[in-house]
């Protein structure tokens, strides 16, 4: 990763900006059932393998700053939400994510189904995910 950042930096003009968009490492994806203004949390998804990759990305960005070829211009985190019509779409949604994919903790998928069965008419399933944007300025 450090090598890729260095290479990209080599193609940037002085003062140019390197921007990384990637999933947030600590704001994990979560699943909830929403009905009107009510929001019932179901589970926070797990993805330990991916968290290691994201940590490596953070370290690589820090390293090229430490090396002096970039300065940190800013970091911003954001959350985005997708609304699904039924539990079967949750599986489809997760399959759209590039591996390694997040998974439900033990028992949480069954809890989703149970909660869905008792959810009011018009309810939706909310999947909330987060990303982080890091901007580095080429020195």
């Amino acid at each position: 990763m450090v090598h890729a950042l260095r290479r990209a930096g080599g193609y940037l003009r002085r003062g140019g900006m390197l921007v990384s968009i990637r999933p947030h490492r600590t704001w994990r994806p979560s699943v909830a059932i929403v009905a009107g203004r009510r929001r019932l949390p179901v589970a926070t998804l797990l993805n330990p393998a991916f968290e290691r990759n994201l940590q490596a990305a953070e370290l690589a960005l820090e390293r090229v700053v430490d090396e002096g070829s970039f300065s940190l211009a800013g970091v911003r985190s954001a959350r985005y939400r997708t609304y699904l019509a039924r539990p079967s779409q949750v599986r489809t949604y997760l399959e759209l994510i590039n591996p390694p994919r997040p998974r439900f903790p033990r028992g949480a998928r069954a809890r989703l189904n149970d909660m869905w069965d008792s959810a009011p008419r018009g309810a939706r399933i909310e999947v909330a995910e987060s990303l982080v944007v890091t901007a580095l300025r080429r020195r």
Partner: protein, 102 residues
Amino acid sequence: MATTELSAYPGEGFEPALIERFVSLHHKRVLEVGCGDGRLTFQYAPRALSVLAIDLDRPSIEEAVFEQRARGPSNVDFRLSSIERLNAPGAPFDVALFSWSL
């Protein structure tokens, strides 16, 4: 609260708006690393001067080129390449974007 076409990525315009909190893409020369099928590229390219968008996945690049032929824009050069092996015409760039690829 409408259920839209299923995607595991943010909605159209969400990521460009975040990027532009740090740097305007207007009339800029952009290198995008890990462009995939051009999902994000097509969102910001109309504002950019030129875009060199690379990815290692051949089917994704082919899909991006197919989509580009169907809907434009014409200022994007999609290429099958890694950043390590890139021969980069258009350099130096104003912005290097690692789109979900670091």
